[in-house]
Amino acid sequence: MSAATLRRLIVISLIALWEILPRAGFIPELFLPSLSSTLAAGWNEAGEYGHALAVTLYEVAISMAFACGGGILLGAIVGSLPRPRILIMPMVSSLYAVPLVILYPVFTVWLGIGSESKIAFASIYGFLPTMLATAAGIQTIDPQLLLAARSMGATLSQRLVRVIIPAAIPTVLSGLRVGGALVIVGVVVSEMLISSAGIGYLISRYRTILDSPHVFAGVLLVLAMAIAFNAAIKWIERKAAIWQTGTRAGQDAAGEVAPAALQPAT
């Protein structure tokens, strides 16, 4: 049996088990409602979930603009200038060790429990990884490419448009993927903690009244959002692959940064 077939079988049997185990009573419905009852719960309250989804998506869109825009801009600046890089990068990565969730109460005190505090929190949550990834991406550009461009008399703007940006795109995109995923997490988590609207709020509210099917419907919705976002970035990555001019060494270095260090912390 090929690996792909076995993998598909595993996924299908997991989904089947999700339906069968709770139905057969091996797992209490409170812990894990069956797939069909979850979907039914979501379908029956479609209007409420749709409204919550709109609120969450609005917050995600604005935070993403802040987090990714700011992260890419600052990362590009820090990554391309050696002095600030040596000075700041280690500080930023030790800052990355701080569990940022503890900042959320501060934002609720400053900005209230509306959308503003979620946007502020999610922007900061997504900002650091995007910045780290972009700075690393700028760094991994093969210096020989720059040298060649310079020795053939390319101006700074030519070097930027023709060499630096195309060579940095893969890393920036992987930073964008992580940053964007973190923004989604940040918005949903902050809604779960303290809020009055959005999917996270719905999940929390149904959790307090122990209505598991509705909790899981919300969880599924967030999952779908995260997966859709991932797929969208993957699609862009494929489209941008023709731009990929970085050398193997550069890609290897980029790959080394990407998988472990920059993944969404919870």
């Binding site: 595993i10 700041i88 280690p90 060790a97 969730v101 969880v219 995260a226 919870t266």
Partner: protein, 251 residues
Amino acid sequence: MQSGLAVKAARVAIVVALFAIWEILSRTGIVNPRLLPSASDTLSTLGELLQRASVRKDLTVTATEVVTAFALAVPVGALIGFLIAENRYFAEVAKPLLFFAFSIPKSIFLPMFILVFGVGFSQKVGFGFFSTIFIVIISTTTAVESVKVEHLTVARSYGATPVQTAFRVYLPSMLPVLLEALRISMIFNLTGVILAEMYASRDGIGHQIATWGENFQMKQLLAGVVMIAAIAIAFNELVRWVETRCSHWRT
């Protein structure tokens, strides 16, 4: 060495400058001091909080949860990761699934942990375990893959015993990656446990911080934030220091 010292001095200067800006913003009233108590006030509150028995108890509770979750997640994750990495077929089957599990946000499953475990100790440990284990598995597979085939071949052709191969080839090659993995999984673990405490809990420092936030006790809240940040950064720097000590082993 000279420039290294200068860089360190510049970093300290940046941190001091940030605290100074914080102090000035609050003292001069540019920012409402009730919303942003000055840095000196916050630090003195922090000192006072550390004296309190209740805060110390919360810290102990959190530390126990973090350590328990970590002690459970790391061996289990490392074992699974090792098994997957050593078997090519397994790796091909499991890796995409693991990466998928890794990339989905774990925090939205927090309500599920409350439904199953309640709001006590086991829920925090469970969630910490859950948010840590995937990164441990993936880092272990990376670590095993970082062992160079040529080194293994050389060791074998010189007749090294399995024990010698394990200690002289596998361990030194894997150690830097493993330390890095340990550091990052600790970040995940701490975030998971504190989030779980803030979400629904009766004790623990995360719960305390959430309560201060709800009661608009800004001094205590900021002191708590500074405290957690300092602990996290201190741990991170410690492991990084060990990492640099071990880096001469990196091949």
